[in-house]
Assembly symmetry: C2
DNA sequence: TTTTAACTTGAACAATCGCTCAAAATCAAA
DNA sequence: TTTGATTTTGAGCGATTGTTCAAGTTAAAA
């Protein structure tokens, strides 16, 4: 019970840190910002996470896990895979938009922030994106097995196309007055997906 | 002549700064990095550009201009608009990839780096992206007039789709061992464009 | 109640940040 | 050659960075 309490608090701290890192990025989030947000002093933070980078790694992994959970929830709510995916995209790009720390996917933001000078974080973001792609491949395999998509492309190719569309769309919706276009562009995205051959 | 000499040197300085900013982003590029790259001391830099932000603005505008010039060159090399666009995308995503400071578009990188705490730079990047969209709209209008694309969508809608694809693709090609997929994904992009309705 | 181990605190360090400015160097006009 | 205006230099300012660590606090064991 006590162990759970500690574990819970640690998760809560990671989640708050994740929100801040997601909003400001790794390099521009100062340890003072983090201290204020998670209400911990340097000594405690460094005892628990080792470094700013250590805390960020946990935050990024937590974000990736939350995304997978969200996608699983959406898929469980529909019998058709494509309906679940549509719900997922709609939820992320429209409903979550208002209270999300950033309009971009944290993984994509990470992958674009880090260069060869920060190989640890670059590799981590790439691995997490790779995991998500694997996850999507399984999903698209199921969609093909259920006859929702053609067999001309492999499931991995569909997964790639989905990510490209999703990322591009998310970036585009970062522009002013683009919210009103969101629903139409999402419809267009799934239309393109089904037209692929 | 002297005026041209000075102007030329200023442009050269901006171009070098642009490369560095493109690679590292605005916030993580220090004024010391810039000093070394453009071989100027703080006093001269601040006399010429006012601030780090001032130099960045010129660098970003220069990047946008270079992109438009590149696109114009590609379009001029082909009678069909879609062939020109294909050349442009191929050049940026495959040929330029090796010697480019970053795998991402500098405008997209800027638009994702800046939040509400840096409104000047956020607005600038949004304006430049907006200009590029207008430019693309004109291009797609011509493509439609030449019968290369359907009339079901407006030119602006084609321009939006192009940007979403281009951005998403560019982000995806940031992952390891994805270079071998580039050509195929570009072909898929233009296939989707022509299948749109 | 005393002991001990674990955790928290916050002052402070060295490094780096964007930027200033008096002094030196440069150059064109007289 | 002298003068006066312009540009360049680089030491250094105050603020902020990631991180450390001795001192203080807390809580469970004895």
């Amino acid at each position: 019970m006590m162990v759970n309490k500690v574990k819970f608090e640690r998760d809560a701290v990671v989640r708050i840190a994740s929100q801040l890192f997601w909003q400001k990025g790794f390099n521009t989030t100062s340890t003072r910002d983090l201290q204020d947000a998670i209400n911990m002093r340097p000594g405690s933070i460094y005892a628990a996470f080792g470094s700013k980078e250590g805390l960020y790694c946990e935050a990024l992994k937590d974000y990736a896990l939350q995304m997978q959970n969200k996608l699983n929830t959406c898929l469980a709510a529909h019998s058709k895979v494509l309906d679940g995916l549509t719900m997922f995209v709609t939820q992320v790009l429209i409903e979550d938009q208002h209270h999300a720390p950033s309009n971009l996917c944290m993984l994509i933001k990470a992958n674009s922030e880090f260069g060869d000078d920060q190989p640890t974080l670059k590799t981590l973001s790439q691995n997490l994106l790779g995991q998500f792609e694997e996850f999507l491949s399984i999903i698209f395999t199921k969609a093909q097995r259920q006859g929702e998509l053609a067999e001309d492309l492999t499931a991995l190719e569909y997964a790639r196309f989905f990510q490209i569309q999703f990322t591009g769309l998310r970036s585009y919706l970062n522009r002013p007055n683009s919210n009103r276009l969101a629903a139409g562009l999402i419809a267009q995205m799934f239309l393109s997906l089904q037209l692929l051959k």
